[in-house]
Subunit: 366 residues, 2 copies
């Protein structure tokens, strides 16, 4: 999507025209957003591992692409099986819970190991590019199917969509998942406006979603996570679209903490609530998300510490919680995700079409 | 309540034993909490106006008490009707939408003006003290009635209460409204634990509620506003108690933005949801809070700017939103309150007892 009027992906090989093999990969440093737009050149596997660990690249699909390019970078140093397996292990260990990371590595490795070592470099760069292009195509398809839903309800006045967290192009290679229909609608000339939930504790809405929508020129307004219900009560939200980390076979949606509260409010005000995901995000092995998905409890600091621009424009951190030894300690709990039961979900937007939760199984049967 | 093991109110006259007339009033500077506990001595009407304007004193009942002491301070300079009326006008203008401010001034003035100027000083200090003592007694009664509800459901294991914003002793003269039942339960030896909603955008939960609970020794845990629904789904919340800025005759509860989302989640998980208010907070002139209460839209900066301790311990502000001229501007919306419909409210805890929304009118008939 656009940044400073130029078209970008979140990750790309630095490559001559008509070549397949690059010497380095560029990424956007997402830890500096929205305050600085900084591109990092990565020319070594270990640097890519560090970028994944420090969340300079984040978002499930993008992490997968980064891991694929990590393997490609490793082939530049050695194409020996043992070295490649070491590279794969390093990448998988960089963020143990990221399913796409493992998926991308496990897709690359058999392809490379089936070839003569001499052919592995080109194959690695080619397969990493394939992974990226497939992600882009998938997200474009999600965008098209989501656009059809929006067009269906569009009444030639401002169409207000609320989203939570960042499931935009920054979380993928391009287009995003929840934001793909929004970009598609904006690019098709529809008058869409996005309510951007701040998304505490990590503020991915206020920092990443607001930034990427702003750069692409999509009208948007940041609100505290508390405000969405009130806006829905007053007819100011026409649709909710969120991403998801996991969708169960029954259509339960596991997504960033707070999604469930927005789904309740949407349901209470008869506003359609959609999750947009590539179909591999659907976990066919579980039905009941509420009881079968274990929710990660994250770090105290995410709640206590806020990052922003200080008076001099530099990025600073401040601690917002009480301190001091006399008082009873202020504890922090930080569950990272919640589960929205399928009964509150209008539909799941996938690259294969839009499905009501109870019809989700039909994707699998196709 | 306790601060550093000492008992405090939020406002008090500096006065010799057995005297009524003071020469100054002390307040806790709430803009410095939770980072610094600072007491300010106020010896002039204009200083009190400034304390109200800058929110060094905040919370409806406390603002009323501060205004009453503002009039008392004014009498030290002049007891002439014209001067007192000027003082009253300055106080009322300091925060135009604060109903208690106007109420306190309008209670003080006729009492003073009915007396000889020579008797007005003592009467002013006496009436300000009465206003404070009545607030304390009212909140203690709310505490007793709320305690009875908690005892009724208490099962001799940790009893988890979720609250939103700050309706604690810092918002009143002492004890608080929503927190009064919690302090009563803690002081009665019940094992209560409080989930403290951070309460964006102004963070009154993370800063004020966490601080006052900690100082008084009540176990508590700060959570992002997004987390409460998830905790309720997993049986970790036994009751929700919030304050309110206004309750309608039908039992609709207007309170800090985000309250409605918690009420929806409580309802969805069959968890009792209470609002605790002194009965004057009930507005008998309106029924339908959703359509009849106008919601204040507050400042952009409350969402954009976070205040906390920097690395060196000093209080700093940081801006969390995107900046920069190339992109479409990031707007901010900041509705300050929302309305929870009576259908989601289990009961209203008042000094006169606990009432289901549909029986609220019986208070008025008593």
């Amino acid at each position: 999507m656009l940044v400073n009027q130029q078209s970008f992906r979140t990750i790309w090989p630095n490559i001559a025209v008509d070549k397949v093999i690059a010497t380095s990969v560029s990424i956007i440093d997402q830890t500096q957003l929205p305050h600085q737009f900084k591109i990092i050149t990565v020319d070594h596997l270990d640097s890519m591992v560090k970028c994944i660990k420090t969340m300079q690249v984040r978002g499930a699909p993008l992490i997968g692409a980064a891991a694929a390019y990590g393997i490609a970078l490793a082939t530049l140093k050695s194409t020996v099986q043992q070295d490649l397996e070491l590279a794969a292990a390093k990448l998988i260990a960089s963020r143990p819970t990221a399913v796409n990371l493992q998926w991308a590595v496990q897709r690359m490795m058999p392809i490379l190991l089936a070839l003569n070592p001499a052919d592995r470099i080109e194959a690695a760069w080619q397969e990493a590019a394939n992974i990226c292009n497939e992600d882009v195509a998938q997200n474009q398809a999600i965008g098209r199917h989501g656009l059809a839903i929006i067009q269906n309800q569009y009444q030639h006045k401002t169409f207000n969509i609320l989203t939570h967290c960042n499931a935009g192009w920054l979380a993928t290679v391009d287009y995003g998942t929840a934001l793909a229909p929004i970009y598609a609608a904006h690019d098709a000339g529809l008058n869409v406006h996005v309510w951007v939930d701040e998304t505490r504790p990590r503020n991915q809405g206020a920092s990443l979603t607001a930034w990427e929508l702003g750069q692409h020129g999509v009208p948007h307004t940041v609100i505290s996570d508390n405000a969405g219900g009130h806006l829905m009560q007053h007819g100011q939200v026409d649709m909710v679209i969120v991403g998801a980390d996991r969708v169960t076979a029954a259509g339960d949606v596991c997504n960033k903490i707070g999604t469930y509260l927005k789904a309740l409010a949407a349901f209470d005000n008869q506003i359609p609530f959609y999750a947009a995901v590539p179909s591999p995000t659907i976990d066919w092995t579980i039905e009941d998300g509420l009881h079968e998905i274990e929710i990660e409890e994250r770090n105290y600091d995410e709640v206590a510490i806020m990052r922003g621009r200080g008076a001099d424009g530099n990025v600073l951190e401040v601690n917002i919680l009480p301190s001091g030894p006399q008082a009873a300690a202020t504890g922090v709990a930080n569950p990272a995700f919640d589960v929205t039961p399928a009964r509150l979900v209008t539909g799941i937007i996938t690259e294969a079409g839009v499905f009501q939760p109870e019809h989700l199984m039909s994707i699998r049967h196709n």
